[in-house]
Symmetry: C2
Subunit: 344 residues, 2 copies
């Protein structure tokens, strides 16, 4: 399988590192031989039809942080690479932009139009144009997989689509953002105010300098849109989510909750086509009460009942478990790709 | 797809009930039309190549509890039905026997030898003869799926094999028996002795009259063997498990644990080819701390890190979510079944 990597930041480099370790497993377990025929970042593109030397690309990035410094790299953008290089699958790893979806949106559409499968960790395009992307994939007979966009390593979407395949998912609740969960967990345990814990989280690199994307619930809302659309067949966008963040949560509120056996968590919920992100009381012993940077999703289903899945919601290596699982799934479905079915 | 039901007790009748509701979903979502061509219980067999009337079979069972009372039913055993009736897949739902594996073991092997896929909820044969069953399935080019044998509705095996498909599962820990978890949860909450809580659980029908299968860890050990073999590629049997049950757990021990922020849970663990069932201390906020009759499995993996899944470990309806998911999986893989791959 010839694969193009578009975007060579944290996730892209993590992919290269994991692929290096997993080549034998992929070959032995699935008969899958992944050849990376191009890598693009914002500085340029490395192309090699016989397979780019991944180890070398990682070394170049460690040294200069610019892919153009790879010997033989050319000043070609991601879009052009998708147009020019022959490949079966495009890995879209550029940064998420939930205002325009770009550059990921154009990359994904272009890839599909060129008959290439798309696997991505980039939320932006899906939050804005989920229906367009699904339709374009169907029209061009390619597969479109995006497990890594929600919950990092936690296979929420594939769990719902593949392992609860006869179930109707009637509602989803989850903690989909590790940064806010970390802050709330520390506020709960240490009884300290929001600003103080946020500041420490920023110093530790868990929260960003501008933390609003996380703490105002924007990231959770984006992921909720993707879950609602992909698992429950809703056609929602970011505008449809009612959002409240965690800025106003006081130590007093947490203390009150604690006294009654509850924790306060930032929960994303979709139910009856209604999408909402808000701080909510969760019983201490409820499966949704997970600590620190963990993510969790609870799927309410008609046959299996409630199924909850917990794991790491981020991480350069961990997230690539979802990416590789998606690639393997594309590979497995590959033989049947022209039968018109909507593969999960 | 022509399906035979062997064993028409709680799970078999639950399957019939769920299938009735899900016919349209299966057809629309997967193009799958399930025709039940025979049903067998200990009294006899109903055969109809155009499809047995499931509703009627359920009514007969409700009335007399004997399938032989179905008009036209014949005195044919399960094994003979497998030999005589033309079908694509056998659902093996007879009661689990971990001493001999029978009658399920003979049913499964016979089905495979006749080129029929097997989907089952029956642990016994897998605990005793996992390797034989896998080899026989491979030799006869049929698929063998058994998600419902462990964790009821919780898709532990398929999660590991399908959604963490590039990961190495290095260890598994779990609460795999709802009865013991219910007893321990109530002992923890109510600070009452084991015997008293057990007696109430028996009155509620949560524990059996002879409770040793559950409380002595036998059931947990059986499920652990299946997880170890199927997910981690070990070749273990029941004899390889070191087992300690929950009879000796005192309110004092639970109280001590509680004071330190722990709960006591009956945990099955497989790690470094070592299988063990024993009461263990679990931090209150750990994902393995789930209450009541819930089951949970934590998969330790090399790429994704720890992934935990929680849900109902039993139930006539719930368990059939796993059964139907397995059938759908067989159907999806069906076109490729002769390519020699070891489908998950």
């Amino acid at each position: 399988m010839r694969v193009q990597i578009i975007g060579f930041g944290i996730i892209g480099k993590g992919f290269a590192a994991v692929l290096k370790d997993k080549r034998d497993v992929l070959r032995q377990r699935y008969g899958l031989d992944i050849k990376v025929v191009s890598i693009s970042d914002i500085t340029g593109t490395v192309v090699n039809e016989n397979g780019v030397d991944i180890q070398k690309a990682l070394q170049v990035m460690e040294k200069s942080g610019r892919l153009i410094d790879y010997p033989g790299a050319v000043e070609m953008g991601g879009l052009e690479a998708i147009e020019e290089v022959d490949a079966d699958l495009v890995l879209e790893f550029t940064p998420s932009n939930i205002k325009t979806g770009e550059p990921g949106l154009s990359h994904m559409l272009k890839a599909m139009e060129h008959g290439k499968h798309v696997v991505t960790s980039n939320k932006g395009p899906l939050v804005l144009k989920f229906r367009t992307l699904k339709d374009t994939a169907a029209k061009n007979n390619v597969q479109f997989k995006f497990e890594a966009t929600v919950g990092g390593a936690v296979p929420i979407i594939n769990l719902a689509k593949e392992n609860l395949s006869c179930d109707e998912i009637v509602a989803i609740e989850g903690i989909l953002n590790g940064t806010t969960n970390y802050i709330l967990t520390r506020m709960h345990k240490e009884e300290r105010p929001f600003e103080m814990v946020l500041k420490e989280a920023q110093e530790l690199g868990i929260a960003e300098t501008d933390p609003s994307y996380d703490i105002d619930g924007i990231d959770t809302a984006s992921k909720l849109v993707i879950l609602a659309n992909s698992i429950m067949g809703i056609n929602a966008t970011y505008q449809d989510v009612k959002i409240q963040g965690i800025r106003k949560i006081t130590p007093e509120a947490i203390e009150l909750a604690k006294d009654d056996g509850y924790v306060i968590k930032l929960i994303g919920e979709v139910k009856d086509s209604h999408l909402e992100v808000a701080p909510r009381l969760v019983p201490v012993t409820h499966p949704l009460n997970v600590e620190g940077v963990l993510n969790v999703a609870l799927l309410k289903t008609d046959v299996a009942g409630d199924i909850t899945i917990v794991g790491k919601g981020a991480g350069a290596i961990e997230t690539n478990s979802a990416v590789l699982s998606d690639i393997i799934s594309v590979w497995r479905n590959g033989n049947n790709r022209n039968d018109g079915k909507d593969y999960p």
